[in-house]
């Protein structure tokens, strides 16, 4: 995908959210003034009535999603993330509380306004939800057809978004002939053809293989950067959040466990649910080392310490190797590294194998070394 696509597709080189608004589907009244794609949840509650009694899916969620960000909502299954996302375009109504899209209360809209809102809010789905009886072209054209956009414009705009998602030449193919990644690209094209300001992604990559997932995430990020589109995505995979999100909200049992910039949450997870979700991404103690390690220094024989240095992204964003090796002394060796750079911040941890000395604990407590340090255990010296 080259950058010229976007420019050609949307006719303006550097589109601001303001510009997006002016070009939104305009056959009905234009969206309200100041529309730019922000979402605000105010004490949103959702209670389902099941045969086993009422179930509280959302227990008072309040969060602000600024326009133009990629905002991730993550949680284990049943945490309420899907319910929360679907309140934005009122596929579900909150039991209590308000959902504001550009300061407009979604619950208060009549049918005409709701249709207008939905044309400003695109959505893609885990299982793509493409119409099997319609070709790729007809699927993507549907939002425009029902909005009574002139036929010639439809043709042009469908061609533009097809180019944007990299599916030129597939107009007359039926969805069943496409791969999963291609289907999701059609889904994205269908969501974008109305030129929305917000894109909702409901587990958009959960049905795709890792490689396709990456390409779809890259596409979403490009779209966000190029079109100034707000993207709200839900997922159960932290890797998706790390890959493209600016901010993240962790839901647990219908409540906000924590939220903030991705690098902060990754670097310093405060809630148990966050740690559980992050666990698959971080490596534990190597198995062979775990067998050798002792909880206390070995008496009467030379020994080495395994030291963990953790980085939460709040200090320097590049590791000063000289400083670390100077502090830890001659013979310090790197055992394992699990470092990442998230939004320009250093995040993760390294394990060092260093010669044990009595003042080691004091030495490593120097805050210049890392955000957190600890001695994981001790092993016999091998030299």
């Amino acid at each position: 995908m080259n950058t010229a696509f976007f420019d050609a597709a949307f006719e303006v080189p550097h589109r601001t959210p303001e510009r997006v608004r002016n070009d939104a589907v305009s056959t009905e009244a234009p969206p309200s003034k100041g529309a730019s794609g922000s979402v605000r949840f105010e004490a949103v509650r959702k209670t389902y009535l099941s045969s086993a009694g009422p179930v509280d899916a959302l227990k008072g969620i309040s969060v602000d999603i600024p326009a133009g960000t990629i905002f991730g909502i993550i949680g284990r299954s049943g945490a309420g993330k899907s319910s929360l996302l679907r309140t934005v375009n009122r596929l579900e109504r909150p039991t209590d509380g308000r959902v504001l899209v550009d300061d407009e209360d979604v619950a208060a809209l009549d049918e005409d306004d709701l249709v207008r809102l939905r044309r400003r809010v695109g959505m893609i789905f885990q299982h793509f939800n493409l119409l099997s009886a319609k070709t790729v072209f007809a699927n993507i054209a549907l939002p425009l057809v029902v909005a009574k956009v002139p036929r010639e414009d439809i043709r042009q705009r469908v061609a533009d978004v097809l180019k944007l998602v990299g599916l030129e030449g597939k107009e007359n193919t039926y969805p069943s002939r496409l791969s999963g990644g291609q289907k999701q690209r059609v889904g994205i094209a269908r969501a974008l053809v109305s030129r929305p300001q917000i894109l909702l992604c409901d587990e958009a990559t959960s049905a795709l293989d890792p490689e396709t997932t990456l390409s779809i995430l890259k596409l979403l990020k490009d779209i966000n950067r190029r079109l100034g589109l707000t993207i709200v995505l839900i997922t159960h995979e932290m890797s998706v959040i790390r890959e493209i999100c600016d901010e993240v909200l962790i839901l647990e049992g219908g409540e906000v466990a924590e939220s903030g910039d991705v690098w902060q949450v990754f670097g310093n997870p405060r809630h148990e649910a966050t740690r559980a979700l992050l666990a698959p991404l971080s490596r534990g103690l190597p198995a062979d080392l775990a067998e050798l390690i002792r909880p206390a220094p070995l008496d009467g024989q030379p020994c080495r310490a395994i030291v963990e240095l953790s980085f939460t992204g709040t200090g320097d964003n590049e590791l000063d190797l000289a400083r670390i090796s100077t502090a830890l002394g001659i013979g310090a060796r790197l055992v394992q590294s699990d470092l990442d750079r998230i939004q320009g911040h250093l995040s993760g941890r390294i394990l060092m194998n260093v010669p044990y000395r009595n003042d080691l604990a004091a030495v490593i407590s120097n805050p210049l070394l890392a955000n957190h340090t600890r001695i994981v255990g001790y092993v016999a010296a091998d030299d």
Binding site: L91, G122, F125, A133, L142, P143, V146, R190, S194
Partner: protein
């Protein structure tokens, strides 16, 4: 077989065609809206009108529970009201249509209900109104099932039309009973059966072919 008999069979064939064609056409025109209404008005549907849903559903069940011969006789006053007569091909079309419509409506309802709810949500999410959803999602997505159901309806109406002889509507079934059975003319009986088999096979083949074509997309 005498030339008169061949002529008689030909006219009976045309009568059957007329009765089945007209009644299934009416079943199609009335059954689809009924089925759409049943699906839309059901619990969790896009309109949600449980009472109207139960009323229409009950009415359909009532007509479906009545055997066709009984229905035909019971409807005689209504038939007279509509067609001005109670005998002949067009008099038979009335009870046939009224029998075929609920039959097809139920089959169509099942096909429509099987349309993935995710597709309806996707359509809502892009700004489709209810009518758009019927037009662009429900009907096209259910089309193979609807065509299959319509084929079943045609075949079952070919069977029902044989009883129309009771009110003097003629048709192949009538010929088979009067000449084949009552006059012991085995040849006529066999010929009628052969014609009916050919018609049913042709209808079924055409229906299956259409469904296969639709599903192959």
């Amino acid at each position: 077989m005498s030339p008169q008999m061949i002529d008689r069979l030909w006219h009976a064939f045309l009568d059957t065609l007329t009765m089945v064609g007209a009644s299934t056409f009416i079943a199609l025109a009335a059954g689809i809206p009924l089925a759409v209404f049943l699906v839309m008005s059901a619990q969790g549907g896009l309109i949600q009108a449980p009472r109207a849903n139960r009323l229409i559903g009950g009415l359909i069940n009532g007509f479906r529970a009545t055997p066709f011969v009984v229905l035909m006789v019971a409807l005689l006053p209504f038939t007279r009201l509509v067609t001005g007569t109670t005998i002949g091909v067009w008099a038979a079309v009335v009870p046939l249509s009224i029998s075929a419509t609920p039959f097809f409506a139920r089959i169509a309802e099942v096909s429509l209900r099987e349309v993935d709810h995710g597709l309806i949500e996707a359509a809502q999410a892009v700004g489709c109104r209810r009518w758009h959803i019927i037009r662009h999602v429900l009907l096209p997505e259910a089309l193979p099932g609807l065509v299959g159901g319509f084929t079943i309806t045609i075949v079952s109406m070919i069977g029902a039309s044989a009883m129309a002889g009771v009110i003097g509507a003629g048709g192949l079934g009538d010929v088979a009973i009067r000449y084949g059975y009552q006059r012991f003319d085995t040849t006529v009986m066999l010929v009628v059966i052969a014609i009916l088999i050919v018609i049913v096979c042709a209808v079924q083949f055409a229906g299956d072919f259409a469904v296969r074509r639709l599903r192959a997309r």
